[in-house]
């Protein structure tokens, strides 16, 4: 399991990275944490001719909140995300990712660009209705979470583009629940729930090619047990999950109900946030 040959470019800044990708003419690949890309290369299921290593680009590891939105640089590692208190939902979700040696390398932007439907952070981005900033040969653009994930392992980030920053609005209340086969595994089903004022957003991971937003509508009353249960039922009814080695469609649907219930219970239990 050794990678095929490639040439290596250590990017000094975003422009350099984007130029290198453009020059690779579709045969280049960005290397950030490498926790998803390198295994695929080791299996020779991917053999990019050019690897553009963005790990040394300065200034991409910032984490700060402006106007209730967490702005994170592309190179924020899962470990940093898990350890911050600015965005508790992102922190909670990041703690579910793999293990220490994976969280120390894997990056927020890398996870979003990789767009694994079972991964935690795409579900969080969608639940928070966040966005990414993408740099390309033609300049920079902003892509909403709704548009970012286009299919399983497919995102609206071009082969000559790079996510440079991530915007994650901070919810007023939040919850995250996951069912995995083993500690640190990808989710069989995960649910990220976020309440912004009266808007409740429930996103289910692992049940479709992209994170699945359950139409939950506005919370017109208290999020009591009955409401949680009916929302959990609605989520289970709304998903159309696949069957695979780790769970049948019926099982995933049941897990969707239960994980939604658990995530919403956390939402209901989130203490009112201090005004910043």
């Amino acid at each position: 399991m050794k990678c095929a040959r490639f040439s290596y470019h250590r990017a000094v800044d975003v422009a350099d990275a984007v130029t290198a990708l453009a020059e690779a003419d579709g045969e280049g690949k960005l290397l950030a944490g490498g926790q998803s890309l390198v295994p695929v290369m080791a299996l020779r299921m991917a053999a990019p001719e050019v690897i553009v290593d963005v790990n040394r680009i300065p200034g991409l590891d910032h984490l700060e909140v402006h106007d209730g939105v967490l702005r994170a640089g592309a190179l924020v590692r899962h470990a940093a995300l898990a350890g911050q208190t600015l965005h508790p939902l992102a922190a909670a979700a990041a703690r579910w990712i793999g293990h220490a040696a994976i969280r120390s390398r894997g990056t927020l932007a890398g996870s979003l660009a990789h767009a694994d439907p079972s991964a935690e952070l795409p579900a969080v981005l969608r639940a928070c209705d966040g966005a990414v900033h993408v740099a390309g040969p033609g300049g920079s653009r902003r892509v909403d979470a709704a548009a970012l994930f286009t299919g399983a392992l497919q995102s609206d980030v071009g082969e000559d583009e790079m996510i440079t920053a991530v915007e994650l609005p901070c919810p007023d209340a939040w919850g995250f629940a996951e069912f995995a086969r083993r500690h640190g595994d990808f989710a069989v089903v995960s649910v990220a729930a976020a309440r912004f004022g009266s808007e409740l957003r429930i996103v289910v991971g692992g049940v479709a090619g992209t994170p699945h937003l359950v139409p939950a509508g506005d919370l017109d009353g208290p999020l009591d047990d009955a409401r949680v249960a009916s929302l959990a039922d609605a989520a289970a009814d709304d998903v159309d999950p696949p069957s695979d080695l780790h769970g049948s469609a019926g099982h995933r649907r049941a897990l969707t109900r239960e994980m939604t219930r658990r995530a919403l219970a956390s939402v209901a239990a989130t203490p009112a946030r201090e005004p910043v």
Binding site: M1, K2, C3, A4, R5, F6, S7, Y8, R10, L31, G34, Q35, V38, P39, A42, L43, I51, D53, N55, A79, G98, H99, A100, A101, I102, S104, R105, R182, H183, G184
Partner: protein, 159 residues
């Protein structure tokens, strides 16, 4: 490509292909075969080393990415005079190893855990060591060893 990296305090200059993993550079180019390869796709944890103090799967990092970094491997755990690190000592006493294939990764993961969390309970140890697969021990001895090393290290810290 020419790279310079420090391993266990010693600086090395190497010429490597970009595709060469850090694990292979350590094992094949530097002869530090203590770092083992169990899966080469980032799941088993046998190749875990510390890069600038952080645990890393050495099979998922290219050697060229370690340019200028300080790498710590199992060979550097014991004192130069051969005195075992409290983790190594505890792994031996608690039978936290059998075949020794997962052991280097276990030790480095545990070393990082105890560096950031000196007093983990058994449940925390089980959770944090879960990125390293052992096929021999059933983990009983490993959890015992990490708990025992934590206690020994705490004792050492005491004035």
């Amino acid at each position: 490509m020419r790279i310079t990296l420090t391993v266990n305090g010693e600086q090395h200059r190497l010429t490597v292909e970009p595709r060469r993993t850090l694990a292979d550079a350590l094992r094949e180019d530097l002869g530090l075969t203590g770092t083992h390869l169990g899966c080469e796709h980032g799941v088993c944890g046998a190749c875990t080393v510390l890069v600038d103090g952080e645990p890393v799967r050495a099979c998922l990092m290219f050697a060229v990415q370690a340019e200028g970094c300080a790498v710590a491997t199992v060979e550097g755990l014991a004192e130069p005079d051969g005195t075992l690190h409290p983790l190594q000592e505890a792994f031996s006493v608690c039978h936290g190893l059998q075949c020794g294939a997962c052991t280097p990764g276990m030790l480095m993961t545990a070393a990082h855990l105890l560096a950031v969390e000196p007093d983990p309970d058994r449940e925390r140890i089980r959770a944090e060591m879960a990125g390293n697969i052992c096929r021999c021990t059933g983990y009983v001895g490993i959890v015992d060893a990490v708990a025992s090393a934590a206690a020994a290290l705490a004792q050492d810290e005491r004035p």
